[in-house]
């Protein structure tokens, strides 16, 4: 396979060079940044790609018109892809989002970089740690690209509804002074896109659960699967697509917090630290004021349903010694769930059991009673009052029916 792909690349490269030798810089002319680095000489071909060593399909095709309409459309390739001065590209470095990309950040006039976000992120619960990191299983930690794609500005999204006509009208006013239409469009798109949520509530839950529902992955870090969220009334609203329904970010990243700066709940900075709970639950000042009158008593409770950790502490689940991942969960269980909460878990569990028995018992009695009544009534037609003799059983039906 590798041999074939390597040959294929060589054929493609030769063909490209033959065809476009001396064609100069490729430029599409419709307001797109001219390709001064001449990358499109090769990368304009949709078939450009290969399978890497792990067998993963990699596509190196760049649709320049689409790229120009993306968040990063104004950047040159080498701003992010450092190296790249050999063909084939053997010295390419992994893209680092904290690189300065030679674009002026308008509020400071300095070179733009995502370094602020990257620093925050590295210090957060999802990051590798400020000092380069010594976290176990660093491969589980999400990278920038796990959540972020090179987002497109394809459609013009206004702030009020998704009317493209309205956006066109607005833009028409902009370009009166800002005469470079493409620049105005990008500026407008950047602004209006940032005013919207990137993902719906449902999509946020999907993104977070893509890792947090993976039991093995979570167990390695002493965490349990977050599927218990789906037992809450919060999830019911998200399920129905209710606007501003509480997804993961609503509580873990409320107003004034950054998704890049999610901290463990033991950190006093975290919005779900006990001292910040009332503010988080009430969410005053947020788009959705959730529990405006939240008392400390209410806010200090456990939101997600009890899961594996409560079961372990209550002695209901004996973790398998063969599973080394579980040891981290056992170690953290006592830290995360107080004795009082274990008691709560027990009470809730007993209550559920009581109701299951009650429902089972009552309904069985009812079914028994009614089916006996049904069978008996069929043997004695209604309204006759005729004497029934149990001994005649079989004949009765024929005679009276």
């Amino acid at each position: 396979m590798h041999l074939i792909t390597r040959n294929w690349i060589q054929v493609l490269l030769s063909a490209g060079i033959l065809l476009f030798c001396g064609a100069g810089t490729a430029s599409t002319g419709n307001g797109i940044m001219p390709d001064t680095e001449n990358c499109l000489l090769c990368h304009r071909y949709p078939a450009m790609g290969r399978f890497d060593k792990t067998g993963r399909k990699r596509i190196f095709y760049i649709a320049d018109e689409l790229f120009a309409r993306s968040v990063h459309g104004k950047l040159r390739c080498k701003n992010c892809h450092i190296g790249l001065d050999q063909i084939p590209h053997t010295n390419v470095r992994k893209v680092d989002c904290s690189t300065k990309c030679h674009i002026k950040e308008p509020s400071t006039g300095r070179e733009f970089s995502h370094i602020n976000m990257v620093r925050k992120y590295e210090a957060s619960v999802h990051g590798r740690g400020a000092a380069g990191g010594s976290k176990p299983f660093p491969e589980d930690l999400p990278t920038c690209k796990y959540c972020h794609s090179n987002r497109m500005y394809n459609s013009l999204d206004g702030l009020w509804g998704k009317s493209e006509a309205l956006s066109n009208e607005t833009l028409a006013r902009c370009v009166g002074c800002h005469t470079r239409k493409e620049w105005a469009r990008n500026f407008y798109s950047h602004f209006t896109h940032r005013m919207r949520r990137r993902r719906t509530q449902d999509e946020v839950v999907k993104l977070c659960t893509s890792c947090h529902e993976d039991q093995k992955k979570m167990a390695r870090h002493g965490l349990e699967s977050i599927s218990t969220y789906k037992d809450t009334f919060h999830w019911v609203q998200v399920k129905y697509g209710v606007r501003n329904a509480p997804d993961c970010l609503s509580c873990h990243v409320p107003v004034g917090y950054s998704t890049h700066d999610i901290r463990p709940r033991t950190d006093p900075v975290s919005p779900i630290h006990l001292s910040n709970r009332v503010r988080t639950c009430s969410n005053q000042g947020g788009v959705q004021v959730c529990h405006p009158g939240a008392t400390a008593q209410f806010a200090s409770g456990r939101v997600h349903a009890y899961g594996v950790k409560a079961q372990i502490l209550a002695g209901e689940k004996v973790p398998d010694e063969q599973e080394p991942e579980m040891s981290a969960v056992i170690k953290r269980a006592g830290m995360d769930i107080s004795e009082k909460e274990v008691f709560h878990y027990r009470v809730l569990k007993l209550l559920k059991l009581f109701y299951k028995l009650l429902i089972g018992g009552v309904i069985s009695f009812m079914l028994l009673h009614q089916s006996m009544h049904f069978l008996r009534s069929r043997r004695k037609p209604h309204g006759t009052g005729q004497a029934f003799s149990g001994k005649q059983g079989g004949n009765d039906q024929g005679r009276c029916g």
């Binding site: 129905y240 209710v242 209410f298 299951k356 079914l367 009614q370 006996m372 008996r376 209604h382 005729q386």
Partner: protein, 252 residues
């Protein structure tokens, strides 16, 4: 046993004779009780439908698409409205029981006694064939008393837990969790009980019409009444005061 001659002739004969003999009906539910029952029916159905909508799995909500949000909004509104109406109805019913003579009579007849236990025993004996006839029931059978008691209990629990869940921010999360469990489990119990106990008793059991209109007319015809509430029938027929209350000559 004393009515075996007329009974053998059966309903068809009775129907033929209808023109000649005046038909008599017995009041099972008076107007006030029918209004209360109808309100309860509407509220109960609304509460069940809008309540269990929370439990619909995700893939069944998806087809609602963009409308799901509005569906949820009206679901919540209807559930709370029906809940409030039902709570108000409960207070009205307590008032009815204590303040009106018909209500006090209802309460007196509804209080369970030793006879109900014996009736239940006898009824089971009848089911197994060990007894030739079912026991003679008074105004309310033990089935009806049990159901009424369950309704009182369930309604009280559902109202309390419902209000707790509505004012969730005032209570500890543990109490809210307990209320959630009770509210959900009671709902399942109530639904199953209504289907198996009440619907069977009123509509599906042999001898009852699936279109039984007693809940609209409040009346039961003499034949059915004499069979299902033999003791009460005897009491009425021997007491002119009770006759005034329960006996009707006009067609429903």
């Amino acid at each position: 046993m004393d009515n075996s001659i007329t009974a053998v002739s059966g309903r068809d004969v009775a129907r033929e004779a209808e023109a000649a003999v005046e038909k008599r009906f017995f009041v099972r539910l008076n107007t006030a009780e029918r209004v209360q029952h109808m309100t309860l029916v509407v509220c109960f159905v609304l509460l069940v439908v809008t309540g269990f909508m929370l439990k619909i799995p995700e893939n069944l909500v998806k087809p609602f698409g963009q409308a799901a949000e509005s569906v949820f909004y009206y679901r919540s509104l209807l559930h709370r409205t029906a809940g409030v109406v039902l709570i108000l109805l409960s207070f009205c019913h307590v008032g009815y029981l204590l303040l009106t003579s018909a209500g006090r009579r209802w309460l007196r007849d509804m209080i369970p006694g030793k006879k109900d236990l014996l009736d239940m025993r006898d009824n089971f004996l009848y089911f197994t064939g060990a007894r030739r006839e079912p026991p003679e029931f008074d105004r309310f059978t033990y089935q009806q008393k049990m159901e009424y008691g369950a309704l009182l209990m369930g309604n009280t629990l559902m109202s309390i837990t419902g209000v707790l869940l509505w004012t969730e921010y005032l209570w500890s999360k543990f109490l809210v969790d307990v209320a959630t469990v009770i509210h959900g489990m009671e709902a399942i119990l109530a639904c199953l009980a209504i289907i198996i106990w009440h619907m069977y008793e009123i509509h599906f059991r042999p001898g009852r019409s699936p279109l039984n209109q007693m809940w609209l007319t409040g009346l039961m015809d003499e034949e059915e009444f004499r069979e299902d509430h033999a003791l009460h029938y005897k009491k009425i027929m021997s007491d002119p005061e009770l006759k005034k209350i329960y006996l009707r000559k006009e067609a429903p």
